[in-house]
């Protein structure tokens, strides 16, 4: 009873803290500008957060296994270009979407294999993939943006489902599925176990290779999903898209309470982290804060969030 409530609070303390921070941030912006707390602006923020949030779900899985994926931004560009080429070759939309996600997942799987079979540190293999995927994107697109798609693709960015914009719907589905898989399935349990103690996980019969390949594959596939939303949104696929998106995704994940040491984190936390970043950016725009100051503020928010989190953890005994 009271014990289980305390356990629950302890377990979800990180998320609750994040939600508290988010609410406080929104409150501050509500005081500072009349444009912030309107339905249309909140919908706007949700849409703007979608791409980072989708990528960050994959990143959360990767970081929980004590890995890192620096290639998500480049994989996004590559999958976007594949999508565009497929559509321009008159492929039906589902086929093109499948091709894009397949392309992203394939590169992710390569990451996973380099890390497991090749025994490369994730930082190195995904650093390499970051460049490889970017190069592939430039090759496939001839270095040029590919623009102009059908309404059916654009629906994925501009359409809505009972009034909720499609990017928000997609993000919602990804979040719910991502959180459920992480917390309720054996696969999610394995992800945490590997990040917590890889050797103990291996000796408990967990197939480390399979789980890691799947996790990096998932990160690649979700980058591709983000690429679909981005391409639909801009009505254009750019080979240069997604540069530094990996850093935004890592930032959202870390603000959301994941530890780069592995074994800790949640999709819900990551969503909150992504929303904090999105709201900050939106609010700073509305307040007409110079873009230089914006960077400083967002960077400070990342550092402060992690610093305070660590200080609290250290104080536990």
């Amino acid at each position: 009873m009271s014990t289980s409530r305390r356990e629950w609070l302890l377990l979800h303390g990180r998320e609750l803290g994040g939600i508290g921070g988010l609410i406080l941030l929104c409150f501050g912006l509500w005081i500072l500008t009349p444009y912030f707390l309107t339905v249309s602006n909140l919908v706007n923020v949700a849409q703007q957060t979608a791409i980072n949030a989708i990528i960050a779900v994959g990143m959360t899985y990767v970081i929980i296994t004590a890995g890192i994926d620096l290639s998500v931004g480049s994989i996004l560009a590559f999958s976007g270009v594949i999508l565009a080429r497929a559509l321009n070759a008159d492929a039906p939309l589902p086929v093109a979407l499948f091709a894009a996600i397949g392309a992203g997942a394939a590169l992710g799987v390569v990451n996973g294999m380099l890390i497991t079979y090749g025994r490369l540190p994730p930082f190195i293999s995904t650093l390499g993939m970051m460049s490889v995927a970017r190069g592939l994107a430039l090759i496939v697109s001839d270095g040029r943006p590919i623009s102009g798609f059908s309404e059916s693709l654009r629906f994925l960015a501009n359409g809505d489902l009972i009034g909720i914009p499609m990017p928000v719907v997609i993000t919602g589905i990804v979040m719910i599925a991502g959180q459920f898989c992480l917390k309720r399935t054996w696969f999610g349990r394995y992800v945490y176990a590997i990040g917590g103690n890889e050797e103990a996980a291996r000796l408990s019969g967990i197939n480390i290779t399979f789980v890691k390949v799947a996790v990096y594959g998932l990160a690649g596939a979700l980058s591709a999903l983000a690429a679909i939303v981005l391409t639909a949104r801009l009505n254009s696929a750019q080979p240069t898209a997604g540069a530094m998106y990996e850093l935004d995704a890592i930032a959202a994940t870390v603000i959301g309470g994941s530890s780069l040491m592995g074994g800790e984190g949640s999709v819900v936390g990551t969503l909150i982290g992504a929303l904090i970043m999105g709201v900050l950016r939106n609010g700073l725009n509305l307040l007409d804060v110079s873009s230089f100051v914006q960077q400083t503020v967002i960077g400070s928010a990342i550092i402060a969030a992690v610093l305070i989190d660590m200080a609290i953890k250290r104080r536990r005994v």
Binding site: L234, S236, N285, I308
Partner: protein, 337 residues
């Protein structure tokens, strides 16, 4: 021990955000005046004098002196005309999505007009469509949008204000060919591929040297407008083409990178470099003889004309579809003017 242990609640993000709010709240307040009354948007410009119109100017980036100059011009005009000006720019020039977000945020901010220097000619169009839907006039500065894509999407812009990049490229080509004595090997540092500006400058340059048939382009590679990439790409070109006579860079940042590469290769002053934009750094290099010349654009003029025309648009005046700002070859002889 059976009560809640508050020390274990991570208020991490929470406190961080408080700090962020406090910081930006203060900064925001400096720029903020009374918000525009809702409803006083484009279209009911019957009483424009009733409030100070707000104009948003979304630039490519602010880490480039070109856009810093443009901002100076825009602010000067805003001051003169009594408009409230919001200037925003993504951190990186490649970041088109961020630019789109800024347009969306400005729509939420209910500004009266939006001036954009697009980071992507086609990619910015959905953002323009959104502004159109909100009844906010859009003006394009410096980089043209993809006309065909705009037509397809039904994106409406008030005007394009910018230097004639094609013309600039052409005079750069002619000038360089003249200095080379109509013969020699030239390498080109391109901007971001697919950029209208980049394509126009390159096209113009080719046209400019076409009359001198003995001038050959032996290499042409993108260096994405950036100084460090300009350095690297130029260095590679020097390796591959030891007899190179000149380099044309589609902007000064890349040109300055190329100059460094040339001096690193011990070929200072043997290879002529022509850039584009005539930034302060470039002018200095020209004065010092390290650079042959640069095509001057007048970004400050673009900025101020942008704000002027935006205000006219808010007031419902008729505006030309295209407004050129001048281009001019700057070299040692006319540097002082």
């Amino acid at each position: 021990m059976r009560r809640l242990n508050f020390s274990r609640f991570p208020f991490a993000a929470l406190l961080a955000i408080c700090a962020a709010c406090a910081l930006t709240g203060g900064l925001g307040a400096c720029n903020r005046e009374d918000p525009v009354e809702p409803g006083a948007t484009f279209g009911d410009g019957a009483s424009p004098a009733a409030h100070r119109p707000t104009i948003a100017f979304i630039m490519k980036t602010l880490n480039n002196p070109f856009f810093v100059d443009m901002e100076v011009g825009a602010r000067e005009a805003a001051e003169r005309l009594g408009v409230e000006l919001i200037v925003q720019a993504p951190e990186r020039e490649l970041d088109i999505e961020r630019q789109m977000q800024m347009v969306e945020n400005m729509i939420q901010r209910k500004v009266d007009a939006i001036v954009i220097t697009p980071n992507g000619s086609a990619e910015i169009i959905p953002a323009i469509v959104k502004a159109n839907a909100a009844g906010i006039p859009v003006l394009i500065v410096d980089t043209r949008i993809d006309a065909e894509a705009a037509r397809e999407a039904g994106a409406m812009t008030v005007t394009f204000i910018g230097s004639d990049n094609h013309e600039g490229g052409r005079i750069a080509g002619e000038f360089l060919a003249g200095r080379l004595g109509d013969r020699g090997e030239v390498a080109v540092l391109e901007g971001i591929p697919g950029h209208e500006t980049a394509d126009a400058r390159l096209g113009g340059f080719k046209e400019g040297i076409a009359e001198a048939s003995a001038v050959r382009i032996v290499a042409s590679q993108p260096a994405n407008w950036e100084r460090d990439q300009g350095f690297n790409v130029a260095q590679n070109m020097l390796q591959a083409h030891p007899d190179l006579n000149a380099i044309f860079a589609a902007n000064d940042m890349m040109a300055l990178g190329a100059i460094e590469a040339i001096s690193a290769a011990g070929k200072s002053r043997q290879i002529l470099v022509v850039g584009f934009d005539a930034t302060d750094d470039a002018r200095e290099a020209i004065g010092a003889g390290r650079m042959l010349g640069s095509v001057a654009q007048y970004p400050a003029a673009m900025g101020s004309v942008g704000v002027e025309k935006a205000l006219e648009a808010v007031n419902g005046a008729a505006i030309d579809e295209e407004i050129g700002t001048k281009v001019e070859m700057i070299h040692e002889a006319n540097l002082a003017d």
